[in-house]
């Protein structure tokens, strides 16, 4: 029995080459089969269909046939040029062929006088596939053919025939279909999904006034795939890029090597420095020293000969450099020596998916040893909560795979502390959490710092006072006689009370108190 099962031929996959998509599809589309791609107007169906062919030509050098029922070949050639796909050139080289079944506007509608079928179209498809020796075929879009003929029954029967012919030709195909609603029936005519073995849904849903593109593999006959919706983006010059989230495995190695945080006192609090491949979250209210920690982190790395990359979403380059020099750090020198790169961007300048892809591209190019993001919470406001969570998870996994140290900052909504969305979503993913808090004592505001969590290492549990001057950050003594700092309501404890608490919890607390 088990032997028989093993003898079953495993369905062979064809890697589409669309970035990120093949990991969702666990290797790609099933070879020699038809896949239905369904989506509303503007959900990037045509781009997906064209990219499927383009990646085949650019990657393994497989020729493709594009059957269009909707846009004219001239329009498609022009529209796809923006993604860097020179279809006209590929046509000359015999790698791309169009079968133009788009409505011919200059003409009157054909007169129907008796029974007919789509035999001519079938012959043209076969001819184009044979002429180019195509391995991939895209049909865009099935629904549009219904508008060209009065006999819907005939069209239905012929769609089945097209799917059968494609299978016989042994090509892997994508058939697009328009749907009326994001979460309604798969396709407008209700037949398109039956002609294909696999169904993929592209969505462009409006959520909290923001558009969010996702791709979902709904059905994959006889083979495995990742379930659920995955965000993707359409980038100029690149096309569709899918962002796989849960597809990212927790396979990163972990390192025992420590790197400096840039501040010897901070290193001491962390039990000898940050781990080289860890992600650290610094949380605090506005103005309590987060950007300073980023500056020290970058400076400490650069001084050790490492390459540092800072993504700044709150301050401009000029401000960052001026602040740094105010703390005695010369960013300009590090930059000239190629050890520092500062990338500033307005959070609103792009969607989160686009930010993520841009950041990944910079990381790939610069190959830094440490990365700082100041602040992560600035990006919260350009996305929905769900989108933001996906972004944070994806960025963290990517950074961990690079085996570099990452420092993210998060702004707390109130001065005295309290949780933020950023913290909620990121705290379980990060290896260390450092809190910066304002502490009000006798009418004065002090700054406090504590290491809340440090995976795999002993660390200082005290809340210590932080002072900032022209040479940067200084960590001093632990606050004594104060409780409730983290809850945002510091209270003084009289000496007697502290002693009593000390007795309750043993000698250790008493010494610190």
């Amino acid at each position: 029995m088990t032997e028989q099962l093993q003898e079953q031929p495993v369905l062979e996959k064809l890697a589409t080459g669309i970035p990120g998509f093949d990991s969702l599809a666990v290797g790609g589309l099933t070879k020699g089969r038809a896949t239905l791609l369904s989506g509303t107007a503007g959900s990037a169906k045509t781009v997906f269909a064209a990219q499927f062919l383009a990646e085949g030509i650019r990657g393994p050098g497989e020729a493709g046939v594009f059957i269009t029922f909707e846009e004219s070949p001239a329009d498609i050639r022009r529209n796809m040029l923006g993604f860097g796909w020179d279809i006209a050139k590929w046509e000359e080289e015999g790698k791309w062929a169009f079968v133009d079944a788009s409505p011919q506007p200059a003409e009157e509608a054909a007169i129907e006088a008796g029974k007919y079928d789509l035999g001519a179209l079938m012959a043209r498809i076969e001819n184009a596939v044979r002429e180019t020796d195509a391995k991939r075929v895209s049909v865009d879009s099935l629904g549009a053919i219904f508008t060209q003929f009065a006999d819907a029954h005939m069209v239905r029967a012929e769609l089945f025939r097209i799917a059968t012919v494609l299978k016989q030709l042994n090509v892997t195909s994508i058939l697009t279909a328009e749907r009326a609603e994001e979460f309604g029936p798969i396709s407008r005519y209700g037949v398109e999904e039956f002609v294909a073995d696999n169904v993929i849904v592209l969505r462009n849903a409006l959520e909290a006034e923001k558009r969010r593109r996702t791709v979902e593999i709904l059905k994959f006959r006889g083979t495995n795939h990742q379930k659920g919706e995955y965000p993707f983006t359409v980038m100029p010059g690149q096309g569709i890029i899918v962002i796989p989230l849960s597809a990212i495995e927790l396979s990163q190695k972990s390192s025992d090597n420590r790197v400096t945080s840039g501040s010897p006192e901070m290193d001491k609090m962390c039990g000898g420095g940050f781990f080289r491949d860890s992600v650290i979250l610094v949380s605090g209210a506005t103005g309590c020293g987060k950007t300073l920690m980023v500056t020290e982190f970058a400076n400490g790395g650069a001084a050790m000969g490492e390459k540092c990359l800072i993504f700044a979403f709150e301050e401009s380059r000029g401000q960052l450099f001026r602040n740094a020099s105010g703390w005695g750090v010369d960013f300009e020198k590090w930059e000239n020596e190629g050890r520092l790169k500062v990338v500033c961007a307005y959070p609103e300048s792009a969607g989160l998916e686009d930010h993520l892809i841009n950041m990944k591209a910079v990381i790939d190019e610069f190959k830094p040893n440490r990365i700082a993001v100041d602040s992560l919470s600035a990006l919260e406001r350009v996305s929905t909560i769900k989108g933001f969570r996906e972004f944070v998870i994806s960025l963290t996994s990517f950074i961990k795979h690079q085996e570099v140290a990452g420092l993210f900052t998060a702004v707390t909504p109130t001065l005295m502390g309290g949780p933020s969305v950023t913290e909620t979503h990121i705290s379980t993913i990060t290896d260390s959490i450092i809190l910066l808090r304002y502490v009000e004592m006798f009418g004065e505001v002090h700054r406090g710092i504590t290491v809340l969590k440090m995976r795999g290492s002993a660390h200082d549990k005290d809340i210590r006072e932080v002072t900032i001057d022209g040479s940067g950050m200084h960590i001093g003594e632990a606050f004594s006689g104060v409780t409730g700092i983290l809850s945002g309501m510091p209270m003084h404890v009289v000496a007697g009370e502290a002693e009593r608490l000390g007795e309750m919890f043993g000698a250790e607390v008493a010494v610190r108190g």
Binding site: V99, D100, A101, Q104, E107, E108, A110, I111, E112, A113, G114, K115, Y116, D117, L118, G119, A120, L121, M122, A123, R124, E126, N127, A128, Q148, F149
Partner: protein, 102 residues
């Protein structure tokens, strides 16, 4: 009367193709009385011609001459529609035909 140039696109020897050729021959003999040229194109043998003309359905009849160019699809068994497509059915005649039916 102008000479007619008619191109009929078919797929091999299917019943529909054979029917279309027969129907067209009959209509031409009756109505055009030798003033026409009829070309039958098998798209299975000449798919590129179908590609150039962007033909989807078969059978398709294209009236190339006299202008305007017209496309008629189907096996041409609906003679009235064929005549309409070939501009052979005069408006008065069609009105007359309708009147008869009433």
């Amino acid at each position: 009367m102008n000479d007619y140039l008619l191109k009929l696109y078919i797929t091999g020897q299917t019943p529909r193709s054979v029917q279309a050729v027969r129907n067209l021959e009959r209509i031409c003999k009756e109505k055009l009385k030798g003033q026409y040229r009829m070309v039958v194109i098998d798209v299975l043998e000449r798919p590129q011609l179908a590609e150039d003309e962007k033909i989807l359905a078969t059978p398709t009849l294209i009236k190339e001459l006299p202008s305007p160019l017209r496309r008629i699809i189907g096996d041409l068994s609906d003679t009235e529609k064929v005549l309409l497509g070939l501009d052979l059915l005069m408006v008065s005649e069609s009105a007359h035909a309708k009147g008869d039916r009433e």
